[in-house]
């Protein structure tokens, strides 16, 4: 396990590379989902207010 974590002495380089890559990908996923929900809420409110004006 220790050998796995230390990556032959290159731990800092290897783990930071993986963390940054997957970190960026996860952040984009979260951002995408949040933006989608925001759009849905906006659309719902819009339709609701259109209904009221009828």
């Amino acid at each position: 396990m220790a050998a796995f974590l230390s990556m032959g002495g290159y731990a800092a380089y290897v783990w930071s590379s993986y963390a940054i890559t997957f970190g960026i990908m996860i952040l984009l996923y979260v951002h995408t989902k949040r933006q989608g929900e925001k759009h849905l809420r906006w659309l719902r409110r819009r339709i609701a207010s259109q209904e009221k004006q009828k």
């Binding site: 290159y10 995408t32 929900e37 759009h39």
Partner: protein, 250 residues
């Protein structure tokens, strides 16, 4: 062929067709990521020269490949926008630009981190690194144009033009290591020669690349679908969809 193209490029059809795809794609993606990470970090043997630091290849190379592939997909969308004015192409261009940008950023950063212990430097202005950095600026330029121009159609056209101007950079990035003397080494996996990487090391690289492709498709679909609903917000099908379902997500 064109009939199929026209059918699915209709926003409504695309929206419902893609809905069925997403859960399947997510399942395959998760399975592949886990399998690839195991291969990359555990089962692939360490390199005779670089030791365990070579494992950075499993995030660096798929990111780099995706940075080029996404730009080419963006190029196809750009052509569709300019020549045929396809609405779905406008939406796609806007949806995938950020994804390509993050892959480019990941490729540059992981490459820099890998270069420090192996080459002895965080950065050099050789042809491969420089052209990949240019690619990042092209992506950022496309994103900036899309956001800066208020009229959606004009913004899409301007961004498409920039995208196509920059398309010459794609062969430059790819062939940079062959055309010029560079610090970055030549291709390990190329179309015509047998790969100069051991098979046990190659397999996780390929599966990780496929996983990244699936990630790209999934995120693109989310972004495109959300944009479709906003684009077609006045249509009856969208209004029915929003009011009828209790859906919390796109």
């Amino acid at each position: 062929m064109f009939k199929l193209f026209y059918h699915y490029s209709s926003l409504r059809n695309f929206y419902f067709f893609s809905e069925k795809l997403i859960p399947f794609l997510i399942a395959v993606f998760l399975a592949l990521i886990i399998y690839s990470l195991y291969g990359a970090l555990i089962s692939a043997p360490a390199d005779y020269q670089q030791g365990d630091s070579f494992r950075i290849i499993y995030v660096h190379v798929p990111s780099a490949w995706m940075s080029l592939l996404v730009y080419m997909a963006m190029g196809l969308s750009a052509v569709s926008v300019l020549v045929w004015r396809v609405k779905l192409a406008e939406i796609t261009l806007s949806a995938i630009a950020p994804i390509g940008a993050i892959f480019t950023l990941a490729a540059l950063v992981t490459g820099s981190i890998w270069g420090k212990p192996m080459w002895g430097t965080w950065w050099e202005w050789d042809a491969r690194l420089t052209s990949e950095l240019v690619l990042l600026f092209l992506y950022l330029g496309v994103i900036a144009l899309l956001r800066a121009i208020d009229d959606r159609r004009t913004g899409a056209r301007a961004a498409s033009i920039l995208c196509l101007i920059g398309i010459v950079n794609i062969p430059i990035v790819h062939y940079s290591v062959e055309w010029w003397n560079t610090l970055h080494q030549g291709p390990t996996v190329s179309k015509f020669d047998s790969p100069s990487i051991h098979i046990d090391m190659l397999i996780p690289l390929l599966t990780m690349t496929v996983a990244f492709m699936l990630y790209f498709i999934i995120i693109s679909l989310y972004r495109i679908r959300s944009a479709i609903l906003v684009y077609d917000k006045e249509t009856q099908w969208v209004k029915d969809l929003i009011t009828s379902s209790k859906r919390e997500q796109i």
